[in-house]
């Protein structure tokens, strides 16, 4: 089994979550990790 490609996203407000969702839809085999310094995500859009 080949190792999964890793997509890392820095930031969880607006651009980050949109990128994460679209990437995962485009390639469901991606391993997607999103880092956010605050307590909340996706509050900006």
């Amino acid at each position: 089994m080949s190792k999964k490609e890793k997509l890392v996203i820095i930031g969880g407000s607006a651009g980050g979550p949109s990128a994460a969702a679209r990437a995962k839809r485009f390639n469901p085999d991606l391993e997607v990790t999103m880092f956010e310094q605050g307590r909340f995500v996706s509050y900006g859009s």
Partner: protein, 383 residues
Amino acid sequence: MQDIEVKTEHRVTKIDPKEKKIQVDNLSKSETQWFPYDQLVIATGARSRRLNIPGNDSKNIFTLKDLQDGIHIKNYIDEKRPNQVAVLGGGFIGLEMCEAFRLRNMETFLFCRRDLPAGNLEREISEKILNELQENGVHFLDHQEPVAFRLNSNGEITSIETSKDQFPADMVLMAVGVIPNVEIARKAGVELGKTGAIRTDTAQKTNLVDIYTAGDCCEAFNLVSQDWVHTPLGDIANKQGRVAGENAAGGRATFLGVVGSAAFKVFELEVAFTGLGTQAAQRYGFEVGSQVIEAESKVGYMPGAKRIVVKLIFDRKNGRVLGAQMVGKEGVARRINTLAVALHQKMTIDEIARLDFAYAPPFSAPMDPILIAAEQAAKKIVK
């Protein structure tokens, strides 16, 4: 369950583009770890700018950028019941918050550097905003440059000193713009544009291989001025994010750019704009003409008809529309989108004046305000 791992309270402190890994502080556990990546999206956003004046770190001074900031402000008002709030900055965060503070019955003072609020907009628009603020009990203080905050022994602000005078305040909101969060990107060798935000392209790539960017930390291409700009807005971030994500996953998506559309609400007033203002258009070297009209949002005999102001900004030489701004109590925020389309399509004033809009008395007038403005503007174009 979308199978996306979300790590909150994790701060990324370093990007190593050679080894393709990032350093992350787990804030809840005070641990630091390295995480490998194959593709990286930098969506670090922006932070509120703070005035660099004495007392700017006191506990009753707030900025508003994210949900946490909003919670802090709400909790402070609930607990301390401040009476007098000073809002520094007349941009749309400051204006929206004036309304929010008045809804909490606080005496609200708005401090602006210029003579009118929303100083980036056209005077005809800003004057209506000022009138709306004053009708709703906001004290507007023009040409004020805060120079210091006076504190009590608890470290709380009690007054603001400006270049002109001193004003009492028991709460301060600083709404003087945002700064893109580019520090970790820059240290990793990611190139910035002249705006200070991350340089990108229509694929949302950076100059470094396998590193993409989206949102308030990066630039966007303005299709009217044909220049890279910093437009920190949530809808743009969202669209750029989709493109960055798709391309990072192996796709070939593009985000072609913005025309600079936005809308906000101040009390009962809708304010909306798209494209360039007069001054920006002049800076870009256009031979600028403009036309302001006032018209009814729908046929005058219909209930709810309101006066709206439409200002069109255009190139006098070829008649091309360059921008539009509107203000009024009804029918503004959605109407502006027609002109956003006109900007995308590089339409002329003459073409706009001949558009076939939908009409029925509850919605508009036989001659829509946009058509009236365009017809008047057409007379000013050099033939």
